[in-house]
């Protein structure tokens, strides 16, 4: 079961730590907000993704198990 990063856009305050810690999947737009690549995470990126989620001051970044999407 793949894991992905997901963002709670309401909690996000554009601190930008996630982009520093997971540049492979997160870039910042012109206003400093993260643009996520929500493809499944390869195993070697999972720990980095979790660290990025831990670093987020507002818990906006989430690492989630794959959910069925409509």
């Amino acid at each position: 079961m793949a894991e992905r990063v997901r963002l709670n856009p309401i909690a996000c305050e554009a601190h930008g730590m996630c982009a520093e810690l997971l540049p492979e999947r997160i870039t910042l737009d012109e206003w400093g907000y993260p643009i996520l690549d929500e493809r499944p995470l390869p195993p070697d990126l999972v720990s980095h993704a979790k660290r990025a989620a831990q670093a987020c001051p507002t818990f906006a970044l989430l690492v989630e198990r794959d959910r069925s999407r409509s």
Binding site: A11, H15, G16, M17, E20, L21, A55, P57, T58, F59
Partner: protein, 256 residues
């Protein structure tokens, strides 16, 4: 007096000379003050989102968190050694419940108060995932109260206030604190001038008060007596620790 187990150890250590605990509690207190100042400054740097390519945001943030925990470690050492030191009657309870001790109750109590506030800040930070962001944030503001109280505790309770090194550390930390607070005020509440004014006023009153108080307070005569040192400890040391070396090392108490 000191806790039982510690009493035995401290008596042993005391008879060897000025209590190692006493030196440790003073030095760890000073180090804790420096680290707390650093943690607060880093906190402001963090909230201002300052960063460079060499100092990315996650580094500033981690540093702030880790320095705070390091400060807590030194604070724990400071408290433990103060309790274990048999010279002053400080119990573990006095470290957490303010103003109940018998040794300089008010000034020591400030330390306990500052420590309580700090505990609230650190505990909520460690458990922040379980509480709302706004609760965590509200409690975190207490850091700005905890610091000045800690400084007052240091000046009022500390044995080294008159010494150049301690005074310099205190003044340097105060300067850093004020600079950080000013930066924070300048950046915060853009549309609420009243709040900024109040914060600025608070900082100014504190600084002014400190400058006015120090010369007649801890830097003045007989501070040890005026601050509430138990009379039995004034003059030469009492009960079983009256080695002359001890007394001279402690004589600082009387002249403060």
């Amino acid at each position: 007096m000191a806790i039982r187990g510690g009493a035995l150890l401290s008596t042993v250590l005391a008879s060897a000379g000025p209590s190692a605990y006493w030196y440790l509690t003073r030095s760890s207190g000073a180090v804790a003050l420096i680290l707390l100042t650093l943690a607060l400054v880093l906190g402001v740097v963090d909230v201002r989102r300052w960063s460079t390519s060499a100092w990315p945001r996650f580094v500033v943030d981690s540093l702030h968190r880790n320095v705070s925990l390091l400060a807590l470690a030194f604070l724990a050492l400071h408290i433990l050694t103060a309790v274990l030191d048999s010279f002053a009657p400080i119990s573990l309870v006095d470290a957490v419940i303010p103003f109940t001790g018998s040794y300089r109750p008010f000034w020591l109590g400030l330390g306990a108060l500052s420590f309580d506030l700090m505990l609230a800040v650190i505990l909520t930070s460690l458990l922040r995932r379980r509480m709302g962001h706004s609760i965590w944030r509200a409690v975190h503001w207490l850091s700005y109260a905890s610091w000045p109280i800690a400084l007052l505790h240091g000046f009022g309770t500390g044995s080294d206030t008159k010494s150049t090194w301690m005074l310099s550390i205190g003044v340097a930390c105060l300067a850093a604190f004020l600079a950080a607070v000013l930066v924070r005020i300048a950046a915060g509440w853009p549309d609420q001038l009243a709040r900024r004014g109040a914060a600025l006023g608070g900082a100014a009153i504190f600084t002014l008060g400190l400058i006015l108080w120090l010369p007649s307070g801890p830097l003045g005569k007989e501070w040890a007596r005026r601050s509430g040192t138990p009379s039995s400890l004034l003059g030469h040391s009492s009960s079983g620790q009256s080695s002359s070396r001890q007394s001279s090392a402690r004589s600082g108490e009387t002249s403060r």
